[in-house]
């Protein structure tokens, strides 16, 4: 393991700009301050603080899901589980402040501190980690640890929920200690709130490490569609060089008179490749999500006869540098340097018009 830790590029915001993140942070802070000064209950203050972040997280999750598939679900699960751990941490603070009074220590969203909610939440997380194991587990040993921790935690909640539903009096009389907490079936020195905080730490820690590790193994789905000949390792390495750019409708992405640009991949929207030799600008081709244009071997000094412009709001992935394996890609029968192919077609059209 290397000494320093750098956040993988995949974990940065892609869909949402830094300006929007800063505005959301400012609005969140103001709402938190205003609701606290207004004397609203703790849950309302927390809700007011979180609401401005919902669109940011929502748009980012949708973007990640389109580009990285199931990895976005991984991110959402980690985020929700961190929030859940936050609730348990809040409960510990409340216990400390109330000298161990559980009736006044239900966390921030105390209305949700119900056995049914705990059960449903933990089943969801357990099966969610199981789904991650199915998808990513073959190369992510931390997911196995997270799944084992979630399974042990789940045994407790199955037992607790059964008592809550079928033996409620027993549950109220102290059965809520469960299996491992002090006073439980097996028992331990820890009371239930402390034990369950420990369970959650044991669950979220390997999950978080697994999430960061998995970021090194994910590639962009549009890149894979555009360059299907690249190996998985090449796709992963190339994904790190992609920079998403949003372009409004009608903008010129590559002008025919300019030297050739690096490869671009269309992620959403549409671009048209048009020949600039005549006033009519005959359209050569429309490119959609998963198709690419540009120069696969790297920048060229040669100006091109074809230009590329967006027909509607479009997201393009700019590739900084030729991808590894580009030469092999170029041997594909259909050819790869799209602009070159487009130019050939343009020349044909031009000659037939003369």
């Amino acid at each position: 393991m290397s000494g320093g830790f750098a956040v993988p590029d995949l974990l940065h915001f892609h869909r949402v700009s830094v300006r929007v993140v800063l505005i959301s942070a400012a609005v969140s802070f103001v709402l938190m301050l205003a609701s606290a000064i207004d004397g609203l209950p703790l849950w309302a203050v927390a809700l007011a603080t979180l609401i401005p972040w919902l669109p940011v997280c929502g748009f980012e999750a949708i973007w990640q899901s389109r580009h990285y598939g199931f990895y976005a679900f991984f991110g959402v699960l980690v985020l929700l589980q961190l929030g859940h751990l936050g609730e348990h941490a809040a409960q510990l603070i409340q216990l400390y402040l109330t000298h161990g009074n559980p009736a006044r220590s239900h966390g921030v969203f105390g209305q949700l501190d119900l056995e049914t909610v705990h059960f449903v939440w933990n089943v969801t997380v357990w099966l969610g980690v199981g789904a991650l194991l199915y998808r990513f587990g073959s190369r992510n040993s931390w997911l196995w640890i997270a799944f084992a921790a979630a399974s042990v935690h789940m045994v407790e909640h199955f037992y607790l929920y059964w008592l809550y539903v079928f033996q409620n009096d027993y549950w109220l009389a102290g059965g809520s200690a469960g299996i491992m907490a002090a006073g439980g079936v097996i028992g331990s020195p820890l009371a239930r709130p402390y034990l369950h905080f420990g369970y959650n730490v044991l669950e979220i820690t390997p999950l978080l490490v697994a999430f960061v590790d998995q970021a090194q193994l994910v590639y962009d789905h549009y890149l894979a569609r555009a360059l299907p000949g690249l190996s998985e390792c090449e796709l992963i390495a190339t994904t790190a060089k992609l920079r998403p750019v949003r372009i409004s409708a009608g903008a010129v992405v590559v002008a025919g008179t300019e030297p050739t640009q690096l490869p671009f991949i269309v992620a959403s929207g549409e671009v048209e490749v048009a020949y600039e030799g005549t006033n009519a600008e005959p359209r050569l081709q429309l490119l959609h999500a998963g198709e690419f244009f540009g120069e696969i071997w790297g920048p060229s000094d040669q100006p091109r006869a074809a230009s590329v412009r967006t027909t509607r709001s479009t997201e393009i992935l700019a590739l900084a540098g030729a991808p590894p394996g580009a030469a092999r890609q170029a041997r594909r029968p259909l050819g790869l340097t799209f602009i070159s192919v487009a130019e050939h077609e343009a020349d044909s059209i031009h000659r037939s018009g003369e």
Binding site: L95, Y170, G175, V185, A191, V201
Partner: protein, 66 residues
């Protein structure tokens, strides 16, 4: 790895501190009563074990197919 170990030690220390200094109030069952529904705990463990095994087998089949 050192950071993870430190985090776990810190968590354990925090929980031990809280358990000693802030014992949680509430009703407690006598030892004989606390173990009364032990078969339910065993059943819960079996349900989780079987489901976990199914998930692991499905996952391994999925990896072989991929």
């Amino acid at each position: 790895m050192v950071a993870l170990f430190a985090l776990l030690v810190l968590t354990a220390a925090l929980l031990a501190f809280l358990q000693i200094t802030v014992p949680v109030k509430g009703s407690h069952l006598a030892r004989a009563d606390a173990v009364y529904y032990w078969p339910v705990a065993v059943a819960a463990a079996m349900v989780v074990l079987v489901t976990s095994l199914v998930i692991v087998v499905l996952a391994q089949r999925g990896w072989r197919r991929a």
